[in-house]
Structures are given as C-alpha cells and as structure tokens.
Symmetry: C2
Subunit: 112 residues, 2 copies
C-alpha cells in the first residue's frame, strides 16, 4: 500500500476515513488491498490515499476525493463491493468508516 | 498511544488528520506523544483519537472534536505548542495536517 503523504490539492475536498482492526485471517488480504489501491487510482475524482497500520493493532486508511459523487461511485464499484463484503466477513474484526469534508490543510509540503 | 477505534457520537463533528513521517531522532518522542494524548483527553470538546503507524513508514493520527472552536483551543494550548514546535524541528521529516467536518459514519459498532 501507499507509504507516503498524499499530495492533495487546496481544500475543499472530501476524505473517507476507514479505521479497522484485522482478524488473524489472511485469505488474500494483501493482494486485495493492492488491487483496491490500483482500482481506486483509476476512479474519477480520486485525489490520493494514505494508509498506516500499527502491527497487531489499528489500521487507518484515508482516501481523498474531489466530491461526494466520486465517493458514491467508488463505493458502488462492483469489484470494490466484493472487497467490502469480504472485509466485513473475513478480514476485519471491527471497522468504522467516516466521510468528511476537508476544510483546510497545511504542512511541510506547502498548500493551505 | 490509542490502539482502538474511537467511539465517536453521531455526526456532524470535526476531525484533525495528522499524517507524518518520523525522523530517526527519538529525543523524548514517546513520552511527549503519551503526554499529548493525556492532555487532549482533558480538553473541552474532545471526542476521541485514533492512531496508527507503519513501522518505518507513515503515521496517521486522527483526533475528533465537537467544534472548530475546540480544535482552535487545543491548537493554542501552551504545552501542545511546545510539542508542535519540537515536532517540526526534531521528530517529523514531513507532515500534513487537515481539518475536516465528518458528515456521516457507519461501521460494526453501530451509529450512522
């Protein structure tokens, strides 16, 4: 998965915050995560992604989007829906998903 | 730091997304991170925090707040300002901070 800070444009834009705890089950998780990233990047309105997971602990993946419509479209993508279902059934013991509107941003990479 | 999914209330509420890459320098980082969490929890309007860091890679900390005012107050907290300055100078080689309004949420822990 991505291991760097996303170079998002000037706000406003949207963020999907996905927080999860993994089960012990692998069953293709890594390959699916790679495939979902590959697929997300191709979606209209995709702006970037950031992902981190503490070993044995919490994972946080934040994807950035130009609009709510782009998020809705990505959520309903057929291949992504299969991944969501497997996530619920196999890979995640707990998760929470939040959709947020980014109002402002700053950091060492400029932008504000 | 926190290693679980925050039990936030029904949206709307606010999120501060802090993405960072660490330097090799420790210099009290762990103690300061613990202290900042302790202090954040005491702030008016604090709703929860989630944090994850891939070893050798990206860290994402998301704190949740009831209002923009609560975020502004936390940002200007004297002890927190010292930590911010040390972060910029010593602990982080790169960071990006985003403030967002959470519009909706769902997950295995209920709420929507």
């Amino acid at each position: 998965m991505s291991n760097s800070i996303a170079r998002t444009p000037k706000p406003p834009y949207f963020a999907v915050l996905f927080s999860s705890l993994r089960t012990e089950k692998d069953q293709g998780y890594g390959d699916m995560a790679d495939r979902m990233l590959e697929l997300a990047v191709e979606q209209p309105g995709y702006l970037g992604v950031e992902s981190a997971r503490t070993p044995g602990g919490l994972g946080i993946t934040v994807s950035y989007w130009s609009s709510e419509e782009a998020i809705a479209q990505w959520r309903s993508n057929a291949e992504h829906r299969v991944a969501q279902e497997l996530g619920r059934r196999v890979w995640y013991s707990d998760f929470h998903l939040r959709v947020a509107r980014v109002e402002r941003a700053h950091g060492t990479m400029g932008s504000s």
